[in-house]
Subunit: 215 residues, 2 copies
Amino acid sequence: MSTTSDARPPLRERKKQRTREALLATGLRLFTERGFAATTLDELCDAVEVSKRTFFRTFAGKEDLVNAPLHDLWTLFLRELAVVEPEGEPTLAEFLRGVLLTTLDGLTEPDWPHRVLLSRRLAERNPSIEADGLYFCDRTTRAALAVLRERFDLPEDLPVLLAIDVLIAVFHRAQEAWAAGPATREGLREHVVAAWGAVPAGLDAPLRPTGPTGR
Amino acid sequence: MSTTSDARPPLRERKKQRTREALLATGLRLFTERGFAATTLDELCDAVEVSKRTFFRTFAGKEDLVNAPLHDLWTLFLRELAVVEPEGEPTLAEFLRGVLLTTLDGLTEPDWPHRVLLSRRLAERNPSIEADGLYFCDRTTRAALAVLRERFDLPEDLPVLLAIDVLIAVFHRAQEAWAAGPATREGLREHVVAAWGAVPAGLDAPLRPTGPTGR
DNA sequence: GAGAAAGTGCCACTGAGTGGCATAAGCCTA
DNA sequence: TAGGCTTATGCCACTCAGTGGCACTTTCTC
């Protein structure tokens, strides 16, 4: 009768997850309250009652902790990208857009939006966090390329990479606009749709010199 | 007759530049030869005969030194962006592309291509360098937006930001492809042109499932 | 219950990055 | 060209992120 009902993950794994959760929640809170640089790892580890060594076994660094919500998103995105069946005969762009929206709908953890918001606000004020996030996205791009090449007949890498770059740029700008407002979960989705539409509008925008405003 | 011929910059400034040059040249060399992480700042400062304190007054960090060639590029780009007159009635995309190409042609320092190459190779092997570079480009995007808003009648930010994002993505992929080959200066220009053309090709690419290769 | 395997804590250490202050070098004016 | 002013540099001590090593505890497996 060692029945832990149906909970699959072994105890060890659950403990690890609990530590991770505690670090994440406390970390985001402390960084937000006291400032990112001003909060030392020792303080955080003290608050969570965990050794610094354990922190580094869980996260690659302070920045990595803050960007964890983003990791969730793009990890799920890659999983979806590998399984979603394209409907009709979409272009690569349409397909990517669809998968991203599906991914957003799939993030059901209740306070994910709140955490992304905290994460974003921290990133906006701390270059090292933003830099770390941008690098992560770059690696995601390459991973996405690999998945796409596996599934579809795409002779060249360059155009595909650029399409994914556009997707990620769209998400970034959407997230930025979203974080400036009320920041609800549905809101993020809408901002992505809007930003997506703004891509051709931006590229094809006519260049009129500043008229009446001319200083 | 204090004529230092026509050399405008005062001695102090020239000395500073010389130190910077020495740090840059020696830094790139040491990082390349011995590895980025394996080379300590103390070693570098020792080799250049400069105190660590001086290093940090010249560069924001090790990564910043490696990305200096990139800074040159985008700084010049912003300058050009502020003055180049659009010919005819180009779209924003066409204009940005033109200014980038002009900028590339304007980088005449003899070993700039070589340094970009070293810089790129280092960045590919060292996440922190790549991250730093990506962050720098992000800031450049915002700076470019400000310049464009000043000069042209662009009612919304979002489309413009996305257009610049595309430009930077194009440059990154071009640089990547360029660094994998012989890496001449003209080559970089050609790769930019090619990558630029690959943007619509990528977005509109049809999605055919992997055919004969299907495992 | 015993042994294997995995996770954790503790400790000492490296090295990046910063602040403060004294000194030296270039600059400017009379 | 001597003096004071400004600015860059060197030096020193310090904080803190991140790592390696090893002993210890917990969980898993049989």
